[in-house]
Symmetry: C2
Subunit: 252 residues, 2 copies
DNA sequence: TGCCAATACTAACCTGCGTTATGATGAATT
DNA sequence: AATTCATCATAACGCAGGTTAGTATTGGCA
């Protein structure tokens, strides 16, 4: 089933069998994409959205000199650009990182769902807000963490998200990224990413080598990156309450 | 009219008179909030959302030591926590920065809109995706810009957003923030924010003093912060095509 | 009018990360 | 087997911004 991973394991919003069937029925086409190919360009109107079945995709903004900031990484089960349905035009580019398989859903079909299935519409809406919640976690990462923390946070997040899609066993997963990709996610240079990865290796937290991530100390890595999976809205918290959150409060 | 600024000036999604009337009709209460007060706490279920009528609010995530990263600033006309309607629980805190006036809309009423008014629902959805687009611009800001650029970008964005609400004349607006607020937005220390503001002053780009922002060189400030308002989905681009965007493309 | 707390401002010092450069490794192509 | 190109790795050096430690303003309130 092509839509099987969509919203899987997300608190209170997984799809009913009927909703899955409806989504399957509005898929107009399944495509295979080659690695490093651009799919959507910022500013161009689009009339369909893309459900990622397999592989990795990303969304990004380039600066004036062409230096890139990734604003999202999408994994199997993600509705990559569903937000293009209400927005009509995107504010960023979308591309594949690895080879990928995607299902195409025309916006006209989403109009039908919107007009006739309020509950499914609310779940689609929910899924775009999940992406926004991830954006916020990334803002925290870039704003408050040092380079080691940023990479630790990203790898911890990706581990959990891949677990949902059955692509990580909880400590080990394939991630076909270059060190430069990690740099563009974490807002650091590729030279420094290399230093950071060495440090994570030396601290026995995590090894990332030849496209395999192996986390030796899941909890230690999460601690180093101040990773708290609350923003992923999981049905089952993988950390339970290990990372007891003490927070000061400046406001009354 | 309480909802008059909601989605005002946003490309293709401003509300019809009838839709405005419906939104007005579902407001259960108007409240006045004191400055620096917390409104929603992360993780607690909420049953209504908040439309900001006047003042400034923010959304933020604190780190382990209580250091804060703002993930959004909301101005008059913003539906501060509409995303809580599909999400049910938030992944971050919400608070006022200044004194504020807000309109409360119960989620039960939004259920009715969702069930019976697909077009208005799509616009509400759109407005939450606008927030996500702003998140992405903030990611770009934190990931790719230096401190001066970050502050320049933030002030340029805020200028445009306040113009939409009629609270900036295009160069001058009231912003009741402390330098520490700016720091927590831009991911820098308050000491450095002070240095940055001095530099912006010395470079004749912008003066921020006693809660008034005066932009002396709107285009220069935008350039310094690589600010391109595309992500705000405006009906009328305030910069037209002054900032001609040359971008390299790494991908085919 | 004077007091107090919050905010603004500045300087001196230090460090994490950027920059530049150069080489090693490995995978694809001939 | 040789060539090429992308990726990984490491070292040397510099600087933007953090840290610490103060002083100066400001504004609210008694």
């Amino acid at each position: 089933m092509l839509t099987e991973n969509f919203l899987k394991g997300r608190r209170g919003s997984s799809l009913s069998l009927e909703e899955h069937a409806v989504l399957e029925s509005v898929i107009s086409e399944v495509r295979t994409l080659s690695p490093r190919s651009m799919i959507v360009r910022a500013g161009e109107p689009i009339y369909h959205s893309t459900l990622l079945i397999d592989g990795f995709m990303c969304r990004y903004v380039d600066d004036r000199e062409g230096l890139r900031q990734l604003v999202a990484v999408q994994v199997a089960g993600d509705f990559v650009d569903l937000h293009a349905y209400p927005l009509k035009v995107l504010d960023h580019d979308v591309a594949t990182l690895t080879a990928a398989t995607v299902a195409i859903i025309p916006h006209g079909k989403l109009d039908q769902i919107n007009a006739t299935m309020p509950e499914l519409t609310r779940k689609l809406w929910f899924s775009t807000l999940l992406d926004a919640a991830v954006h916020r976690a990334w803002l925290f990462r870039l704003g408050r963490l040092d380079a080691v923390g940023r990479v630790a946070h990203f790898l911890s997040e990706t581990n959990v998200r891949l677990q949902l899609a059955g692509l990580s066993d909880g400590t080990r997963f394939a991630l076909g990224f270059t060190q430069t990709d990690i740099s563009e996610i974490c807002g650091i240079t590729n030279v420094h990413t290399n230093r950071v990865l060495r440090q994570l290796r030396e601290e026995q937290l995590c090894v990332f080598r030849s496209s395999i991530v192996e986390i030796q100390d899941v909890e230690g890595l999460a601690r180093r990156g101040q990773f708290d999976p609350g923003y992923l809205y999981l049905s089952h918290d993988p950390f339970k309450d290990t990372a007891a959150h003490q927070k000061q409060n400046r406001f009354a």
